[in-house]
């Protein structure tokens, strides 16, 4: 958790009484913003009352970031008006926005990793005072005050880059509070936090609220929104589609508003009649590796989607790596379609028809600055170039087929992968592996950072591939609902061993979550 201890008192959950909530802090009326003719915000109205926790929900690309930038004065709207404290603001510049008490905590926190906590905290104040000479003593005082206002303990002399993500976030929040904030906008604040850190964050958010500071919580995680907020606004394609007190919403309703679709989730059923007679695609016997893997007996048959859950460090990632030939020196045996196979390198695994989509697809799996085509083909060039030259015609065909089959939203295969949404990027990675004729697909955290609509789409594609093509899938995930809805079996891992196996049809999300909590 980093080097801070909380000694906050937990205040009452909501201060929803007439007095606090009666006045509006900021009002946007029919705000419009276009970029080169593309409408980013379409006559959008939003009201944030003083001291409320307001959630702004929307998928990637729905206009959330644009809206934040309008409120923080970075973008000037093309139409509509903005009022703060009931007074119309003619031209909201970044400086004016800060002076009105609007503070944004960006996803990357905008901190200086090479400077100490104290300096990071005091920098804004000293800049605002237009100092030329730095007063290190006063800087420490400012920093101390900032930290005590937040009610946490942070080592002021540590370099920020040495802090955990949660620690960095605390510094960013403490810095925002320094400037007499009245509205703190948090952009996807929970993305990189663990469950416990999220609880801590929520306590702090409520504490901030109890001082009459409004918070705009920008997110696409439904459970968090429902837990923390007083009011929810959902936007889609730059328009407001829903707006109301949180008690009027539930997960399904928010999802429907965010995506405009009804996403039904039925549990996945393995077609035993069709695939039951075939040998297991992958079968391990007493697979062990040091203390990471302890006598794993896993069998995945064609058409099965097997889920693996467990805490961080339970050995679930190591299992994936071992099956992908990245942990040579394992003991025990691995059989592929009934044949014992030595998996000493990733090449061995690819030859055996195994594909692996890693956890951090952005840094491990994709060439972001290259086109979709090259990314998709990157594992297949050997097959495309029987002689010296690449068969360009065939390459194009393959790319087109994959873009169509995987429904990647792009006009052309030349589009750069970094310009795609998270969901489409994930599809590119899967497409690449399907081209290698993979028979066994290992997915590690397949939908981390992917929005609801794309998530459902990825799930649909995986299930379809398993059902129709007989692809065997091993799905490793933290997201319990994801596992319950998409797997026919789920195994729990702990300290390198399988501790329990459940049929998805006979278990529930809560049961699994409870079991995970009880693992120590």
């Amino acid at each position: 958790m980093g080097a801070f201890i909380l000694f906050l008192k937990l205040g009452p959950l909501f201060h929803v009484d007439g007095l606090v909530m009666s006045e509006n802090f900021i009002e946007l009326r029919n705000v419009r913003k276009e970029f080169a003719g593309v409408v980013a915000l379409n006559d959008l109205s939003l009201t944030i009352r003083k001291g409320e926790i307001h959630c702004l929900a929307g998928e990637n690309g729905s206009g959330k970031s644009t809206l934040i930038k309008v409120m923080s004065g970075v973008y000037q709207p093309d139409g509509g008006e903005i009022s703060i404290d009931g007074n119309k603001v003619e031209h909201l510049s970044p400086m004016a926005s800060i002076e009105h008490g609007v503070q944004v905590i960006y996803q990357d926190f905008s901190l200086f990793g090479n400077l100490t906590v104290a300096e990071n905290l005091a920098m804004n104040v000293q800049l605002r005072e237009q100092r030329h000479i730095l007063n290190w003593r006063r800087m420490r005082e400012i920093a101390k005050e900032a930290v005590s206002r937040l009610g946490v303990e942070l080592d002021l002399d540590t370099d920020v880059e040495k802090l955990s993500t949660a620690g960095k976030q605390l510094v960013a929040i403490a810095r925002a509070l320094m400037s007499d904030a009245r509205l703190i906008i948090m952009d996807e604040p929970t993305t990189a936090l663990t469950g416990k850190e999220i609880e801590t964050l929520f306590r702090i958010v409520r504490d901030i609220q109890s001082r009459g500071i409004a918070i705009l919580f920008v997110s696409h995680k439904m459970r968090e929104m429902l837990e923390i907020s007083d009011h929810i606004t959902v936007i889609r394609n730059g328009e407001k589609v829903a707006d109301g007190p949180t008690r009027d919403f539930d997960e399904a309703l928010i999802t429907r508003h965010m995506t405009g679709l009804d996403i039904i989730s039925e549990p996945y059923v393995w077609d035993q009649a069709q695939y039951g007679s075939q040998p297991a695609r992958v079968e391990t016997q007493n697979l062990s590796f040091g203390s990471d893997l302890d006598n794993i007996n896993l069998s995945v048959r064609p058409g099965e989607i097997v889920g693996v859950s467990g805490l961080l460090g339970s050995g679930r990632t190591e299992l994936a790596l071992a099956l992908f030939g990245m942990m040579p020196g394992y003991s025990g045996s691995i059989a592929i379609s009934g044949q014992e196979t030595k998996l000493a390198t990733p090449q061995d695994a690819i030859h055996a028809g195994i594909a692996y989509v890693p956890e951090d697809r952005l840094s491990e799996g994709l060439f972001l600055t290259q086109g979709i085509d090259r990314n998709i083909l990157s594992t297949s060039y050997e097959k495309l170039a029987p002689g010296l030259l690449i068969d360009q015609k065939k390459a194009e065909d393959w790319v087109d087929t994959m873009i169509r089959d995987m429904q990647i939203a792009t006009p052309t295969g030349k589009k750069l992968v970094k310009e795609l949404s998270g969901g489409n990027q994930q599809r590119v990675v899967i497409a690449r592996w399907l081209l290698t004729n993979a028979k066994f697909l290992i997915l590690n955290g397949p939908t981390v950072g992917v929005d609801v609509g794309s998530k459902a789409e990825i799930h649909r594609i995986i299930r379809e591939l398993a059902q129709k093509e007989g692809l065997a899938v091993l799905m490793i995930s933290d997201d319990v609902p994801e596992l319950v809805h998409n797997c026919n079996r789920i195994v729990l891992m702990h300290r390198g061993a399988f501790v329990e196996e459940m049929a998805s049809a006979e278990t529930s999300e809560d049961q699994i979550s409870d079991k995970l909590k009880n693992l120590t």
Partner: protein, 325 residues
């Protein structure tokens, strides 16, 4: 951070160790004569290193300063001869100003076009050197033509000693100029807002502009000061060797960058200190000086400098990556 983890302490430790080893191999190393000449060799590289340090903290790199130094030096000396000027202060102001103007050129391209500093400074350095040789001239100005005031200034010593054989040696006063500039830069980096802005820029340029630093002002400050230091060092150099050679300082950028990296500055920006840089400069000069004492061929000195750059950069890169993990 405890004191023994500080880069400066580590560098100082390595430096002392190296001095002991070199002293054991060659006891002449510890002679006062050798020490004085060692310190003298620190001055020019040291002043230039201060400029490079500033650029490197901000996340950039500068390879144009030797060209700026030689241009400022040659033009100033020519001017002094032309006007028959025999002061010292004004020429140094002129050389520094010229260097600063050249530096502005770097800043303009780096800021305005968001260009990679390496490419910008490669280009501007080549341009300035080319113009100097093509337009101003290629002839050396020897001691007989050099302005006397400059030579006299370069000759000033703090202490003078007489050897047993009657020859004299001394510690050059130029070391005071170097230390003075170093202290000034240290104060700027550590205690002024613009100095902290340089670190902030090197840490995260996007965040620096979000908290309200004036990136344009800081960029111009960095490259102009680096240029001014180079111009100043160039003129000082000619006063110390009694010669103005328009082809001087070729390949010096490698030595200076090696010294700055050796001093613990990060090639990724955001880290580095004046004290560390001074230690790095001393270490580099000492190693080269020992190679000469040990009569090792100059071509091998290039190898040593190359090895130092690679190893020192690898260590700092490894350190910074670990810090970010």
């Amino acid at each position: 951070m405890t004191w023994f983890q500080k880069s400066e302490v580590v560098i100082a430790g390595i430096l002392v160790l190296a001095m002991v080893i070199i002293g054991l191999v060659n006891p002449a190393f510890w002679s006062l004569d050798n020490m004085f000449s060692l310190l003298r060799s620190n001055v020019i590289i040291g002043i230039m290193a201060l400029g490079v340090l500033l650029v490197m903290i901000s996340g950039g790199i500068d390879v144009s300063f030797p060209a700026f130094a030689v241009a400022a030096m040659y033009l100033t000396v020519k001017g002094m001869i032309y006007f028959n000027y025999d002061g010292v202060l004004l020429p140094f102001v002129a050389a520094a100003t010229m260097g600063a103007l050249f530096g502005c050129l770097n800043a303009f391209f780096v800021y305005k076009f968001r260009m990679i500093p390496l490419i910008v400074t490669l280009g501007t350095g080549s341009m300035v050197r080319g113009f100097l040789l093509g337009v101003v001239g290629t002839s050396m100005i020897n001691i007989n033509k050099m302005p006397d005031a400059l030579i006299e200034f370069g000759k000033s010593d703090i202490v003078n000693m007489v050897k047993a054989d009657g020859s004299t040696y001394g510690l050059t006063a130029m070391i005071l100029v170097y230390v003075g500039l170093a202290i000034a830069l240290h104060l700027v980096l550590r205690h002024t807002m613009i100095g902290r802005g340089v670190y902030a820029l090197g840490g995260d340029p996007e965040a620096a502009s979000r908290v309200g630093f004036n990136i344009r002002k800081i960029t111009f400050f960095i490259y102009c000061v680096a240029g001014a230091l180079a111009g100043f060092a160039g003129l000082l150099h000619s006063g110390m060797i009694w010669l103005a050679n328009p082809r001087d300082f070729v390949g010096l950028e490698l030595d200076v960058i090696a010294a700055v990296v050796l001093g613990g500055a990060s090639i990724f920006g955001g880290r580095g200190s004046v004290l560390g840089t001074m230690l790095g400069v001393f270490m580099l000069v000492m190693v080269k000086n020992s190679l000469i004492i040990m009569k090792i061929d100059t071509t091998w000195q290039r190898v040593v400098v190359g090895v130092i750059i690679v190893i020192a950069t690898a260590i700092t890169a490894w350190r910074d990556r670990r810090a970010n993990a």
